[in-house]
Amino acid sequence: MAISLIPLVRPGRDLRVDFLRGLALWFIFIDHTPGNLLGLATLRNVAFCDATEAFVLLAGFAAGIAYGRIMEREGWLQAAGRVMGRVGTLYVAHIFLFVVFTAQVGFSAAALDQAAYLDELALDPFTQEPYRALLEALLLRYQPAFLDILPLYIVVLALFAVTLPMIRRPIWMLAGASVLYVVTRSFELEPPAWNGQSWSFNPFAWQLLFVIGIWLGRADPVKLSQHFPWNRWIALLLVVLLIVAAALLNFFWHGATSGIEMPERLSGWMASIDKTSLHPARLASVLIMCWLISHLLPPGAAFLFGRTAGSFILMGQHSLPVFCAGIFLSFLGRVAIEMSDSLLMQVLVNVAGLAAMLGVGAVSAWYDDGGRRKAQALPTAGQKPKVDA
């Protein structure tokens, strides 16, 4: 099957970005299926950051290239219009997933007949005030568990529409994003949320990662590697740092408490690493990996043209439909894993999940491909650059 998928891969882009994006999408599916044994092998177990960081950074990268080009050719209004169109699509997708999520929770509550088991579970806002919760969900002020990445993406992309002209002055854009990040963290700025909740991902902090992605996407690769040249010793040091972080995480953060006692100061520091406002350790972690990968995996690596990488590249090139499919499938996967603890079910959920995500990627590619050929056949139709950011 994979062989026939390769022709669907869109050439002429940095395939590494698409590959990593595809991988991040797969990890997001796995991490959104609690109880999934593969969850023990995803990025979050070995690094302070997880697939969300990779997803946002690479989304910025793709957005910088795609919308930057439109901005240069057609101006701010056109480009901002396209960005806001994308925001609208994301919003509709989010609300669709919210409805699916609510139905899934209702279904599994009935299936497990859990009403009398954990008293506290009836305390979730949707059970208590369904109509209000619906309204708050539309306002993005209520985000149930695991439905928090799209709201972040929506706000960050909307901010991008406003600040698009700044991409001509990338240093200013980076400086502005950094200031907003620092101010957000120092003064604990956050968008409003309902019912004592908070945004899982504070967009005012996370925008920095997106903007770094834009900057990387727009920068000249040759100049970029001159600015951040390969140095074996620095690389070695960073690899050691990553290994130390992985050890810390596995011995103390996720692991058992007994046996080895960690100094209180170190635990205190680790407890302070928040995901909500993108703690500097998480930011550093993803950027270090980005630098290492960009040097260790050259753009022309034979691996990228193989079957396995090709499948992930295909998913990465159609990130929105694949992302939504992944979240949707994770709901089904959750119900399945809830129903059966067996190893067979684990295999089934993961094989079916990945195959379905790949299928969605392939169908999107095929659909886009058809559209492009039609556009080429009609000489009058203005050829718009393909946007998938």
Binding site: P34, G35, V105, S108, A109, L112, D113, Q114, A116, Y117, L118, D119, E120, L121, L123, D124, P125, Q143, P144, A145, F146, N195, G196, Q197, S198, F252, W253, H254, A256, T257, S258, G259, E261, M262, E264, R265, S267, G268, M270, A271, D274, K275, T276, R334, V335, I337, E338, D341
Partner: protein, 253 residues
């Protein structure tokens, strides 16, 4: 005579063979909970109180401390904990006071401890939390801050002679599927380590029981639910007693 002794030997052998699987099936302490979850760091306050024969315990938590689907409040784990601990350590007088209730959060618990702690002067505080935060999607970071702040305050009040034990949510596949429980548990574990509290992982122990078909409240038929809830609370109390006694073993450890 000889025939009779041979007969006796045969009976004894048969009995031995018959009992053999029973012997294998005999559970370890704490209803067979994995030993790694029954190991606590030192609990000096509790240790000293046990030596004196008088232990004051403060339990703070949400629904499971009050009833949690058991047959009566006296069947819950805090009450059973007192009974089992008293039976295990003859001559010990255990006083327990329970605070909190359904839907209470770490912030509520912190207030309760500030209000009642000074009058009670407990040697041991058992703080059960995390379920409400996870179910309602409250901030895990705020919860961790609250735990560290409160633990430092409680421990300092009696010159580091009050021990704090944190207890995480009950294992539930439904909760696992519909809330990001692991993030909350990770934060609780770190907050405990950062503030010198001990961490009793009810989640891991119950998960072990559920996966090994020892006790699985979630999959119990409705008619048996109260009976199994009672047994679950009994087993949790037994595991907790093992944990506390491990932490209170006199030095050198």
């Amino acid at each position: 005579m000889k025939g009779r002794s041979l007969w006796m030997t045969a009976v004894a052998l048969a009995a031995g063979i018959g009992l053999w699987p029973l012997g294998l099936r005999a559970e370890g302490p704490g209803c067979g909970a994995p030993a790694e979850y029954l190991v606590s760091g030192p609990l000096p306050g509790t240790s000293a109180a046990l030596a004196r024969g008088n232990l004051r315990v403060m339990v703070v938590g949400s629904a499971s401390t009050q009833a949690g689907g058991t047959s009566s409040p006296s069947a819950t784990w805090p009450q059973r904990f007192v009974r089992i601990l008293s039976a295990r350590t003859p001559g010990l007088n255990v006083e327990v006071q329970i605070f909190g209730g359904r839907g209470t959060t770490a912030a509520d618990h912190s207030r309760l401890m500030a209000e009642h702690g000074p009058g009670l002067r407990p040697h041991l505080v058992i703080w059960q939390l995390g379920t409400v935060e996870a179910a309602r999607g409250l901030s895990a970071d705020d919860m961790a801050d609250m735990v560290q702040e409160t633990t430092s305050r409680v421990r300092a009040a009696r010159g580091e002679r009050t021990d704090m034990v944190l207890m995480d949510p009950q294992f539930s596949r439904f909760l696992r599927a519909n809330a990001d429980v692991e993030s909350y548990r990770d934060k609780l574990r770190l907050a405990a380590a950062a503030s010198g509290a001990q961490f009793f992982s009810r989640w891991s122990i119950m998960k072990f029981w559920a996966e090994n078909e020892r006790l699985d409240l979630e999959r119990a038929p409705r008619s048996l639910r109260v009976t199994i809830a009672d047994e679950l609370h009994d087993c949790l109390a037994r595991a907790l007693v093992e944990f506390i006694l491990d932490g209170a073993r006199p030095a050198p450890r």
